[in-house]
Symmetry: C2
Subunit: 461 residues, 2 copies
Amino acid sequence: MNREELIQEIKAIITSNKTPKIIREQLEDYHENDIAQAMQYLDVKDRKKLYRIATVTMLADFFEYLDEDEAVRYFNEMDIRKVADVISELEPDTASFILKELDKDKKDFLIDFLNPEIRKEIQMVSAFDDDEIGSRMTTNYIVIRENLTVPQAMKELVTQAEENDNISIIFVVDENNTFYGAIDLKDLIIARKTDNLEDLIMTAFPYVYASESIDECIEELKDYSEDSIPVLDNSNKLLGVITSQGLIEVVDDEMGEDYARFAGLTAEDDLKEPLALSIRKRLPWLMILLGLGMIVSSVVGIFEKIIAQLTIIMAFQSLILDMAGNVGTQSLAVTIRVLVNEKLTAGDKVKLVLKEMKVGLCNGVMLGSLSFIFIGLYIHFFKARAWLFAFSVSGCIGISLFTAMLISSAVGTLIPMFFKKINIDPAVASGPLITTINDLVAVVTYYGMSWILLINILQLS
Amino acid sequence: MNREELIQEIKAIITSNKTPKIIREQLEDYHENDIAQAMQYLDVKDRKKLYRIATVTMLADFFEYLDEDEAVRYFNEMDIRKVADVISELEPDTASFILKELDKDKKDFLIDFLNPEIRKEIQMVSAFDDDEIGSRMTTNYIVIRENLTVPQAMKELVTQAEENDNISIIFVVDENNTFYGAIDLKDLIIARKTDNLEDLIMTAFPYVYASESIDECIEELKDYSEDSIPVLDNSNKLLGVITSQGLIEVVDDEMGEDYARFAGLTAEDDLKEPLALSIRKRLPWLMILLGLGMIVSSVVGIFEKIIAQLTIIMAFQSLILDMAGNVGTQSLAVTIRVLVNEKLTAGDKVKLVLKEMKVGLCNGVMLGSLSFIFIGLYIHFFKARAWLFAFSVSGCIGISLFTAMLISSAVGTLIPMFFKKINIDPAVASGPLITTINDLVAVVTYYGMSWILLINILQLS
């Protein structure tokens, strides 16, 4: 699959001097996705040529594969009546996403142009928030009544298949359009004419309500691994379906967002995003972190006099704080993934905290010991201090490192659980609080221990 | 969808005193995934009852939905002949994953038990590494020759559908089993008997080679949003297909891994994982970080004399280091996502670095100014120092913060690009190097500036 070459071929076809009919036929040999990708490498003139040559159905297929911002840009290059025609052929969720991005005037004008049935579908999908699963459904599916015979169902399938793409699962409703079950197309195809349709219907088919939040139902939807899952309204009537293709998009978006949030970005960033937007996305988080950082600094300030007596200890502050931060981040990442993937009982939660603390303890003992040895040697040989002094300081560092790591792993597990409990997204909120708490614990342990052990007991300076 | 209740219902059915036939019929009304989930809430005795009551096909369906470690545990509870029967009914990729987890003796014994055709399929899938796309393919698909008529193709479909589930795309090969194209089942269903099959075949269908790495082809596979994508060997013969369900699993795994790596875990961790394994996953990374942290500490140590003269400045070290770290992490997260999602030209890369630096510059100016004002006020009022002293110190902090943020955003973008270039996974390797470089830059800027401005020029102490 060499996409570069494909794109060059497609470009050559569109810019060639052949007749529109020939160009159209040649384009039909390429995958819609490849043509959609090629569009951004054409200049405006050639894209306008493509809009005239391709049929409305072909154009709609290309637009299904475009990013929203590209789609909007190309629609602005097109005659508005043609835009209306293309939008009529799009999946309602795609149409709804693109319409939201257009200027209000243009949008209103376009909505007037659409035929009433398509308008109704787009408006239904648009009515859901972006984080509700209803905003991701398609109305492109096969639905039959539960009281048909096998040949009647087969005939319905052939009729509806002309208009609808997602045929691998056939949905079954009763006379009130209430969801009744689903038939695997495979079972219908291999059924005999005299078989009872009822026997083919899976009545334990998974379903989802349109107003459920994507966050909450996505994990379960993935688990069922069905090709399409019905979306119901609150009175159990069938509104649409989520296809496995739609599910891939949702999973991808969700994971991208989790990942971005983890680094303190409010949403996934990208290359083409304007500067001001990137700044706006990152600045709030950084301001919070700055404020929290100032708290830590003012606590370090309390120990100013201790540090003044024994400046060598402050060189290792960054080491202890960084390590506490690293351990906290690891526990946070593990906890968030576990919270997302699994439904935990109270017992599971206690087990997770204990496990993380055990990991923190073991790693803390090992790294604390390493630090004790190597930093002791370093201070003795490179800073030319006596053995007792060197190993007293490195002992303080080792013990502080161990304590900080143990507490950080507990904090890194408990904080996201707490945010989850009070219904705040743990991936967004946990990071800065964990860093601050860990920094404070590490600073107080380290300088407190140094004060007691080194200054009061051993009277070093 | 209340899964808790479903699981309780299923449990009640299995533990009831009804006859096996009745229990089996009642279980058939539930989704395989729900029964698979219910299995872990049964005790061993009841699970053994289920193994006897359910047919081999039903059991195989349940096993498709189990985690590998659960599957292995349940197989160990089962008679080995029954295990062989169930494995024969599994998808070859599932069978291959589970077999890898079993004891060698048991595995060899089972492989002998399988019928030769199934053994061949499993061995073919097992031959691929876990990171090759071939390890994720299924051999469960419909394939026909290119020279059939529409009614012949339809007849083939009905025959093959009895054995194979993934029927929404029909793959077409020539006499040498070389991949020729694909037919959308929908097009075949609505075709007339006299239509030419050739006209239904999409010859520009995307495909992938079995030995391609999942990392490299996953983004393209997602983009095509097809229900199944053919997997070819190096001589373009059809070996298997990747279904969209398989794709969801792969996307999920890949993203989980990226996410984990970002926090310095070598793989996704989970609740049930043994302690020793968790420690082994995290310790190497922490040791690297400890080593790098020691380098930073020894550089801070160089400035010991400056700090001794002016201990107030060291309270703000953690602030500057943390902020540089936060900005670097944001740039890193953005860069990694962009590197994963898009193919960048050299020009795009320069643009990305410049954009990140502009974001760093703007945020740096704002946060630097904020720090200058607030820290100045803090030192004046809370530390009871003169205005000049307070704002000279806070000026140093502001300028260092600005410099550190600007450089961190460049470093956070360049380092992952560099690792990508030399073919090292940037998500794994970038974190510690970025932190260390940023810490060093921040420390040298801050103490260097303090030394020049505060001690040499203003002669404060």
